[in-house]
Symmetry: C2
Subunit: 565 residues, 2 copies
């Protein structure tokens, strides 16, 4: 493509509203333009890279045995009401009425539509399992659209859905999808982790998020420094054996701790290490209260607590509730002499504490030489805390590190939630009706694009990885008015096209400095500059990624490009 004939409106200045690198660079390099908050146009270069990501996704989905389809954006509200998501999605779901006043949602996702289609068309076990996907525009009215393509209101997504008669079949599909996702993000050149995630309230089982490691990510991942273990920090189990010290148990004693409330303050005031503290938090668990203990240097993980207590909701008790039940302020409550009807549960780490300290259920007072089981009863020890950096990895290999991640994909064993709500049933081999079991699998296609730029750039611009780059070669004629240069550049342009090497030809009448700056910004893998030595047939060959450059004779070009990795 001749640069003079397409639309690549590069900018010198960073747009004021662009907080992160991918947003800044995709706008500055002329790949995207915002047309409304969270709504973008993909200009020709942006469209090319988007289509390249789509191509990878499509190929890997097909390899995983999924058949592509295309469902509509306009979805009748009836379906969403059947699953309860018409209410649940709240203002994020965009809604409209047609001329006959029928209510529609703009597809934020397609579980409802695909399940209704399969319900209507698949009646027998013979037609299962079934695996379908689409690459399609989605609409979500985010409260705060930001970060360019990372969190938009209209975006391109790949969503896949599988339907099964049994769990084993779902497990198999899940594994295939897991592998397909590994392939996709690897081909995109991304440094990512498949992360064990929270399956939430929808009755699902396994679920993994695919996270691209990046400081701007909004999620924290705990991963092993030696194995491929990775989990959302909320989901990472703690697999530590806490050794009890051989210190003799001393006599329980009250101490005044005037005005000292946090574990840190009390620890310093008592001159005792933080990991001898017993932190006591009162939680409201469904309709009852539970006192939850952890070591002073640990944090209770709500999701673990909820799962451990098989509860549907857990939240910290209010100050008023604490006062009413313990007649003490929040910073001074503890496990000794708690009201009879309040259960105490503790994280495993608490069991190993000898001669610790804890609140005394009197304002400004703590106990020291507290010994669990001797001084109070605990109904159960469980894994209740957040994993920390330095913990051993739960899989027994290596130690845990933290990183920030951008979620680009999500695979999920849905189970029967949607099939039950929408009545997606089939006849089994015995002629009996059963409910289908489902999986769903999403990839944020336009978001993946942004994640790629987050990982592939330097101070001068983007550095596109091989499979995503809009063109392989940026061909520049330094001075197109010079006949030798212009002639050689035109020849190279034709030859590369003939060799099926995609090339962007900067034939613009711009100063060389502008062309080079634009070229770095746009970030194609190889730059070929036709300049002073055009008459001898020599050009400059430069690799964007590592800056290596070379003078080459035109006769060597095609071979050199084809061996570039």
């Amino acid at each position: 493509m001749r640069q003079s004939q397409t639309l690549i409106p590069t900018l010198k200045e960073t747009p004021a509203d662009a907080e992160i690198k991918s947003h800044q660079l995709l706008v500055r390099a002329g790949f995207i333009r915002q047309t409304a908050s969270g709504v973008y146009s993909f200009l020709p270069m942006g469209n090319k890279v988007l289509k390249n990501v789509e191509k990878i996704v499509r190929e890997e989905m097909e390899r995983a045995g999924a058949a592509e389809m295309l469902m509509p954006a306009l979805q009748l509200s009836d379906l969403w009401k059947e699953t309860g998501r018409w209410e649940k999605m709240g203002p994020e779901l965009m809604r409209l009425h047609d001329r006959h006043d029928r209510e529609f949602a703009l597809g934020a996702t397609h579980e409802e539509v695909v399940t209704s289609i399969v319900r209507d068309e698949v009646k027998s076990y013979k037609k299962l399992p079934l695996s379908v996907f689409q690459i399609q525009t989605k609409f979500r009215d985010e409260q705060r659209p930001r970060f360019g393509l990372l969190r938009g209101r209209e975006f391109v997504m790949k969503d896949a859905y599988t339907f099964h008669t049994n769990e084993e079949s779902l497990d198999e599909a899940y594994k295939k999808m897991y592998q397909a996702y590994q392939n996709i993000f690897t081909r995109c050149g991304l440094n990512f982790r498949a992360v064990i995630a929270d399956s939430g309230a929808m009755g699902g089982k396994d679920t993994h998020e695919f996270m691209v490691l990046s400081d701007i990510g909004e999620d924290t991942i705990a991963f092993s420094d030696t194995s491929d273990f990775a989990a959302n920090i909320e989901m990472a189990p703690v697999n530590v054996t806490y050794a009890k010290s051989d210190e003799a148990e001393a006599a329980l004693a009250k101490v005044d701790t005037p005005g000292y409330k946090t574990m840190m303050e009390v620890s310093e005031f008592l001159g005792q290490p933080l990991d001898k503290g017993i932190k006591s938090l009162l939680f409201k668990v469904d309709e009852r209260f539970v006192l939850v203990l952890s070591r002073g240097d640990h944090e209770i993980n709500d999701i673990k607590l909820k799962n451990a207590l098989d509860a549907s909701s857990v939240e910290l008790a209010t100050e008023a509730e604490v006062q009413q039940l313990f007649h003490a302020e929040v910073g001074s409550i503890g496990p000794i002499n708690v009201p009879d009807d309040i259960e105490i549960v503790a994280d495993y780490a608490v069991e190993a504490i000898t001669n610790g300290y804890a609140g005394a259920n009197e304002d400004n007072t703590h106990y020291k030489n507290v010994n669990p089981d001797r001084d109070f009863k605990i109904s159960s020890y469980q894994d209740l805390r957040f994993i920390m950096e330095g913990d051993p990895s739960p899989d027994g290999q290596g130690i845990i590190k933290f990183a920030k991640g951008i979620e680009v994909g999500h695979i999920f064993k849905l189970g029967k939630f949607y099939a039950e709500k929408l009545g997606a049933k089939y006849l089994n081999e015995q002629g009996k009706q059963e409910t289908m079991i489902m999986g769903c699998y999403g990839i944020g296609v336009s978001r993946t694009l942004a994640a790629i730029v987050e990982q592939y750039h330097d101070e001068n611009g983007i550095k596109w990885p091989q499979e995503i780059t809009p063109y392989q070669v940026h061909l520049i004629a330094v001075n197109p008015k010079n006949e030798e240069q212009s002639k050689l550049a035109e020849e190279i342009y034709k030859e590369l096209q003939k060799q099926n090497i995609s090339v962007l030809f900067d034939d613009r009448k711009e100063r060389p400095g502008v062309k080079f700056a634009d070229s770095d910004l746009i970030g194609l893998p190889i730059r070929i500059t036709v300049g002073k030595r055009a008459g001898e047939g020599y050009v400059e060959y430069k690799v964007r990624d590592n800056g290596e450059q070379d003078e080459l004779h035109v006769s060597e070009l095609v071979n050199k490009i084809n061996t570039h990795q």
Copy 2:
């Protein structure tokens, strides 16, 4: 693809709401399903043919030098208000509010968005001309969605836009697009015509519609039986020389025509040929009245009248207006003794009438032996009538025939309408600001698919043309439980895939009759049936288009398929 692993829900019965063949067959063959009125899901086979049409469109657009981009469906109302189309589009434009109560349109077309992007990014003549396109989902809330994919409310469209500094540049782009459209519809296998169309009120100039010939079409095309001339009947000029007879002019005479009002009635009553009648119609042209004459067997064409009189609106006068001005009823008015301030214009054919008949401006009375110019004054003769079958073609080659057509494409010289409304200006070589000149070019992609099926089917199902077919070969194992058949079918399946021949493998446990019926319905070009002679390595090879069949040894298959046209 194994048929057992994808979703091709064929139906024996024709869906009750499907009036036309393409709608019936695309539903019955399991290509599409309706999810709301005028809103369809493309199931895996439907998606494949859709993507094949898109591929052709994309390739030909790129060959024509257009760069692909992707604009959003969500469009701020502000832009539509700037061009006045927020009002003008009426209920066809789907509208919604976001959570912050900002008003959006769902893109029915993208003139506003693309013009605003180009306005913001292109400031100099150096960056023009520019040619961009997208393949994207559009939304139009049709009053009466019908005919399946032919008139939907959510559909896939290719829209292209070009921007220019002068008319010559627009002419050149228009020609390229015209050629690209010829290529696209030819590659789709369609019998179509590029038809001169009405450029309407938007200040445009040339415009062509690409019409697929089909009895279910809603437009009538006049085309030459020997040349490639074709025009919307509203737009076809009449290029006829009317010979005046050598009959002597007789004396004007009044005759009673009691109760005879239409030209046909008066003609029969008087025993005079229809083409001696002078039909007189009173039109309201902007703010004045004009009496318009045509030959009794001709029909006045409003658009020609409007253009001839350089009017912005023409409509037939009401009965009351006729009574008030002529003191006679509509069927009895004529050109003799008309009120002074009423101009008379006539179609060319009227000039050649000798001793004709016309209304006498008295109820139940006509004149006979009427001779134009002798008996009344005419301010001008013009081409005012509709072309008719049998007329000579306006290009001088052949005679005119009529056909019905489905509009699948439209190319249009927009001129400056949108650029002026939205302020899309550039600096010319002299540094002076000028307004851009635009063209726009649409193809109904999903509609084209329906048009293809209208032209490619028989009583048993679809017959996909070569470049559109979802798969090249339908491979059927008659009895998959038979080991020889199953083994040979599997071998052929693998071999065809290895040879890059796309194949749908019917491995279902269904009766042979069901498989054959489904196969005809789905309509892949070649069917290979593995049956009784599997043991000897012989299979049946059948061509869907012409029904030709053959027994072949498997060793001949690949060659046979590859030479199929």
